[in-house]
Amino acid sequence: MDTKFINEVERYGADHFKACYDCGTCTAVCTLSEPGHSFPRYFVRLAKTGQKDEILRSRELWLCYACGDCSENCPRNADPAELIAALRRYTIASYEPTGLTKLIFKSNPLYILVTLVLAVIFALVLLSFHPQSDVSRWLFKYIDYETIHYTGIVAAVLMIFSLISGFFTSIKNYSPQKPMSKPWDALKKTLIEMGIFKRYQSCDTYEDSYWAGKPWIIKPWFLHFCIFWGFILLFTATAMDYLFKNPNIDVWWPTRIIGTIGGLLLMYGSTIVMIYRLLGPTKIYQSTKLADWVFLIFIWLTGFTGFWLEISIFAHDHTMLTYGILLFHVVCAVEMFLLFAFSKFAHALYRPIALYDYFRTKS
């Protein structure tokens, strides 16, 4: 066993799991834990006994939606949900080939520095290409429309590259198990779960849990649903805009409608989640780490500046502020994509893979 792994896990932000005395309450209360896929207690053991390989190849780490029922019920305040989050960061960092994530996840100042330096570089790149004489729209007076697109494409390519790399690292680690259902069925189930979060909805359903009596519209699963679909819709709108090369400003244009709905969902979800992370109504929100904030702030800033631009365009606000906001918006969006495999964002890849494997091997 790796006797120093316990301290490594601590560096990823698990501050309390050492207090665990192996009672198993967390696993007992978890609505997603089941025979053959039991967690989170087992992960406390894996972390304490330095079973790195087992952690890296586990599906359960990604099956968890971090509802925090386990931490609420832990008699030792060992915060198993916090450990699961830390182990996910450890896994993201281990799957990512450059080693940068390992550094930034373990050092908050470095994380902030890297994020800011990257932002400055992007801003300089964007500003260094002056637009051609025929500016298609007043908005792109200072930042070239084409430059934005090409930067976006470069970021997207890098993202796709890191996605593929993460995908293969991830599935390479999985130990082969006997498939119990057809690939098609497993894929279908995975897509349905990704669309409606049925498993997430089963979290926090105990009578005495904090969210049990609350309206669905403010429940964590729904906020996650909003962010997820907001993101998908915005991504679709952006992609369509690019494909049709039609910078139409009419709000009734289909891509604009999709974008606006997506933006609203994204803003609603991320704003409420940020409030939760600030106020800490439950333990899981109280143990918010920088990596959670970075991802959330990126989403929120991208959405917020997007809407600002919408309004500015609509109001023909030709001030420097608008041009500044555009720069900010593009930098946020591009960096968010670029850092996909280097941030919490990566769960969007690893969870579906885990879900697919789970459905495929489940009898």
């Binding site: 066993m1 006797t3 050492k18 207090a19 005395y21 053991r45 006994t49 079973q51």
Partner: protein, 643 residues
């Protein structure tokens, strides 16, 4: 002779199966009883008062209560007799509940007939009963305490404080016992030595305590209240002039050419033949280990207080009771048990405690700097295939506390606990939690042995199928393996054999009743305390020492001891002294005396337990038992066999 008979319904317990009316009628018709009554509950207050009244107003000479077992209510109705002005031994209890209604619930007629017969026999016994008075024997208000560990010292102080003279007898040359080998102790982090120093200073302020070190009881005679003990005191071969001249003493140690394994440090270090286990040890007088001393005389040249010609002293002491506080031995793992004796870096907790004290800066064992420690629990306890079946109580706490101390004292230590489940009961739970929070990892297994230890490039590999991690095989490379050994009884039980103190299946001293009489033994006047009666932590050992002190004081302080008068007595006219009675007596209660010019047997009443073993073996029928005299028993038999 006026005899009152009371027949108890015991609610429905008796009355449901024994026809009380019929019994009452039969007894009345027989005419032997002066008064026959039936009562709903004989033991009820109102019934007791009625009986007392009857005895007084009717001037009864004896009473019979037909109710439950005498084990339950004999003292109750003896009290009734006493309050009515009767001698308690003129009371007879007949058991018609257990022996009639419960035993024959399927045969009401038979049960009733049997009840009648038994009561008739009881009446016969009452008719022939004689008034008896408790036997009073003189008691010396002095107690010998064997063992001057924490329990013995604490008991000595308490007894002395209550006005009892104490002889504290310690086999070693120094007091303090096992706890002086332990540094900081849970919960106060006070060291064992600090505790002993405190107790010793208290002890020497008492004029009524005499401490003997290097001393052993070699012979005892007499009985409870008045025991004669013979104590052998080994010489120290050193007198006070050497002891208080520190320089001279140190010089004497320096010149001593003999080096032997230091038992105090469990063989981790060597010591000289002239020694003290640690500076400031009490009594502050070094000693010479005579068996290992070569008598070369080197020490005498530098220190004039050394006298190798001192001889053992024998002292005869007279005490009322003996209190045993002889402690335990740490379990010694067998060769190869978890690598002990085979893998070089495997030691016991006792050794580890000494090692920690010997390493003030860095934890080093056999030249290797220790960074990771594997603690293997339940070594010699809870054995599946061994004599020690149960938990040793102190070890989980001791190990966890040690793990805390190690991390506090040295840098970069990692602790790994291989357990059968943690039992840090009570307040000690806190240290378990503290140990977890500092990052200690706990493994668990119920296999026997719970893990395997093997040597590997100067380290030890510990393998376990960890129950807590789905039984996964886990391998740990540890610099040091510490076997958490439990407590076992003292190898040398000579004092127990001398005093005939019974031991349990665990070979620790046995108390009479685990809950209600926890510090008394079946040997009257011999009390047990501390870890001599089973594994205990210091708190529990002191608890039992104080209990034993209170019980011992209670026994001897009045100057006399009352015992039951139901003892054997010899008809000296008939006795021919054939020795058969003294041979069979398990309590050595017979002595040979001269009377009217012939040798006869005599009962030492303070030793006789009234068991009756001697009665059938006497060829002359010269021995009888008070309250069970031949007349009483024969009259009962006559009545029972009468058709």
């Amino acid at each position: 002779m006026k005899i009152g008979v009371y027949i108890c319904h015991c609610g429905s317990n008796i009355a449901d199966y024994v026809n009380i009316e019929q019994v009452k009628k039969a007894i009345q018709e027989q005419g032997e009883a002066f008064l026959v009554k039936d009562v709903m509950f004989a033991c009820a207050d109102s019934s007791q008062k009625e009986m007392v009244q009857d005895i007084k107003t009717q001037k009864l000479d004896a009473i019979v209560v037909a109710s439950c077992s005498p084990k339950l209510h004999l003292p109750t109705f003896r009290g009734v007799a006493r309050r009515g002005g009767l001698n308690p031994y003129n009371y007879v209890q007949v058991n018609i509940r257990e022996q009639c209604s419960w035993a024959h619930s399927d045969d009401k007629k038979g049960a009733t007939a049997k009840a009648i017969r038994l009561i008739q026999a009881g009446i016969e016994k009452a008719k022939n009963s004689e008034p008896l008075e408790p036997i009073k024997i003189d008691a010396v208000n002095a107690v010998a305490i064997v063992g001057a560990g924490v329990a013995g010292l604490r008991a000595a102080i308490e007894l002395a404080d209550m006005g009892t003279y104490v002889y504290l007898i310690e086999r070693e040359y120094f007091v303090g016992g096992r706890i002086t080998q332990w540094d900081k102790l849970f919960t106060t982090n006070q060291s064992g030595r600090e505790i002993i120093t405190k107790l010793y200073n208290q002890l020497i302020s008492y004029k009524n305590i005499t401490l003997f070190t290097g001393a052993e009881i070699v012979h005892t005679s007499g009985s409870v209240g008045n025991m004669q003990i013979k104590v052998r005191v080994k010489p120290r071969y050193v007198d006070t002039t050497c002891a208080f001249d520190k320089e001279k003493f140190e010089k004497a140690i320096e010149v001593c050419p003999v080096e032997v394994e230091d038992e105090f440090n469990f063989g981790l270090t060597k010591r000289k033949a002239i020694f003290k286990n640690y500076p400031g040890e009490f009594p502050e007088l070094p000693a010479i280990d005579y068996d290992n001393c070569t008598k070369c005389g080197e020490c005498q040249k530098v220190c004039d207080g050394i006298d190798l010609d001192q001889k053992p002293e024998y002292l005869n002491l007279n005490v009322g009771a003996i209190l045993l506080a002889t402690g335990f031995d740490p379990y010694e793992p067998s060769e190869g048990e978890y690598g002990y004796g085979k893998v070089p870096n495997v030691i016991t907790l006792q050794q580890f405690k000494r090692l920690m004290e010997l390493c003030p800066e860095q934890l080093v064992y056999k030249g290797r700097k220790i960074r990771s420690i594997a603690y293997i629990y339940c070594v010699g306890s809870r054995q599946q295939n061994g004599p020690n079946h149960y938990c040793s109580r102190y070890c989980c706490t001791a190990a966890m506390h040690t793990a805390l101390l190690v991390k506090e004292k040295y840098k970069d230590i990692r602790n790994f606990h291989f357990t059968r489940g943690i039992r840090t009961y009570g307040k000690q739970e806190h240290i378990y939690h503290e140990a977890l929070e500092q990052g200690d990892v706990v493994f668990q297994s119920f296999n026997d042995p719970l893990c395997q230890v093997s040597a590997h490039n100067g380290t030890a590999i510990v393998k376990i199928n960890d129950f807590l991690t789905r039984g996964k095989p886990i391998e740990l490379e540890a610099d040091l393996v510490v076997l958490i050994t439990g407590m076992v009884p003292r190898k040398d039980n000579s004092i127990g054999q001398l005093l005939k103190v019974p031991v349990g299946r665990d070979h620790f001293f046995n108390e009479i009743h685990l809950k209600l009489r926890p510090v008394e033994t079946v040997i009257d006047g011999v009390f047990i305390s501390g870890a001599s009666q089973g594994p205990k932590n210091i708190m529990e050992a002191v608890n039992s020492a104080l209990a034993a002190a209170a019980k011992a004081n209670n026994l001897v302080k009045k100057g006399f001891i009352s015992i039951e008068p139901t003892v054997a007595f010899v008809d000296t006219q008939q006795c021919q002294w054939c020795d058969k009675c003294s041979e069979i007596c398990p309590f050595d209660a017979f002595e040979k005396i001269e009377q009217d010019g012939k040798q006869v047997a005599s009962v030492i009443t303070s030793l006789c337990k009234g068991c009756g073993m001697c009665l059938p073996v006497c060829p002359e029928n010269a021995i009888e038992l008070h309250n069970y005299t031949d007349r009483q028993i024969e009259s009962m038999i006559d009545d029972l066999v009468h058709v």
